[in-house]
Symmetry: C2
Subunit: 203 residues, 2 copies
DNA sequence: TGTTAAGTACACCGCTCTGTGTGCTTACCG
DNA sequence: CGGTAAGCACACAGAGCGGTGTACTTAACA
């Protein structure tokens, strides 16, 4: 019923409405936070009338949940589907996201909304679990002794880097990457076949 | 009335005003979040008139900053000043805070307020740095090769556990403690003298 | 006794927020 | 042409927020 572009009868309005709203969400919710971004401001930024916005989304809650769902492809498949890297390198590549992600929107949403039952909070939970699972799969592929554990550990490092980056206003991902390197070295039976380089953070 | 005491000049009013406000803050800001807790509700919980609250604090911002400052002693000295533990054990003890801290209020404040210039955000930053410094000191005491690095790493683990606990609604500190054990083993030149027990999480 | 500090009770202001109601415009299409 | 779906502009309701103003009460002291 919604999805414009090609309406049921072939309509094609400004086409963007929904897209522009979600696009504006990505920017504003991120820069200003969810609670500090009002629907008026958001609609203005999206160049969409408020009335239209509420025809596409039943309310802000639904919009926020949809907004969170828009991060999946870039992060998940962007890192894990790189066949040019060895499994080990893929695990480490998860920590190389400096310009893309100033801070984790899932953590931010969970904290801001503050209701574990909120659709967005539930999705954040699902997403975090999915990332840990992906890391575990890759860890298994890399030959880790206990891939589940390593996946969970690396996921914790990512979240720690995100949280710390936010609070301290300084990039904490290099530190996380250094820890990850240690954990990976410890978890993989040494003869992993791949490369043997070590990443030591000094300074 | 209630709890009596002695004021500056010998007055002894209800005594609690300020204390009760801060005490109510600890509970409500934590349970409901800062933004979702209004001054009306807070004053009602503290059994203090709103007028009185605004005579003790210039505004909510100041109250929030003060609220954060109330966490110091319990966490910082509670863990690091334990002379009955070896330095190594103290480093690991920082991850044993299950019932005391359901989630880190500093991260929550930084995310909720969303303004790095906010007094509370600045304090959160200072506090996190202080914790890392304390950890580094203890790491040095334990004979770590690069205490600064280890301190920063352990601090990141704590923040990661806090963030992940929040998002997933499940205690992530055991995982963080397991990582910490590995890092500490790797950083201390082996003959640390103390115990040699290993903490492996298999769950 | 009166003064004064501390607190109470409660209405109130101005603002912002989410969400609607209403009427108008634009475009497609038969 | 007229129908219809999408969208716009704009005001407005209802609620909650942070914060204030005002008048009253209580307790300590002199």
């Amino acid at each position: 019923m919604t999805e414009v572009e090609k309406g049921p009868q072939g309509r094609r309005r400004g086409r963007g409405a929904r897209e522009r709203i979600l696009s504006a969400s990505q920017q504003l919710f991120r820069e200003q936070g969810i609670n500090r971004t009002g629907m008026n401001e958001l609609c203005a930024a999206a160049q969409v009338s408020k009335r239209t916005a509420y025809q596409h989304f039943t309310g802000k809650d639904e919009l926020v949940a949809e907004y969170l769902r828009r991060f999946d492809p870039s992060v998940l498949s962007g890192v894990f589907d790189r066949t040019d890297l060895t499994p080990r390198e893929r695990l480490l590549a998860a920590f190389d996201i400096p310009p893309t992600t100033p801070l984790c929107p899932y953590i931010a949403a969970a904290v801001e909304l503050h209701d574990p039952q909120h659709p967005a909070s539930q999705y954040a939970r699902d997403y975090k679990k999915a990332v840990a699972a992906r890391l575990a799969d890759t860890a298994r592929e890399a030959g880790a002794a206990d891939p589940e554990q390593l996946g969970e550990q690396l996921a914790l490092l990512i979240d720690g880097a995100a949280a710390r980056t936010r609070v301290l206003n300084a990039d904490a991902f290099p530190t996380a990457a250094a820890i990850a390197a240690v954990l990976i070295d410890n978890a993989i039976p040494a003869a992993a076949g791949d490369d043997r380089r070590r990443e030591e953070e000094s300074g």
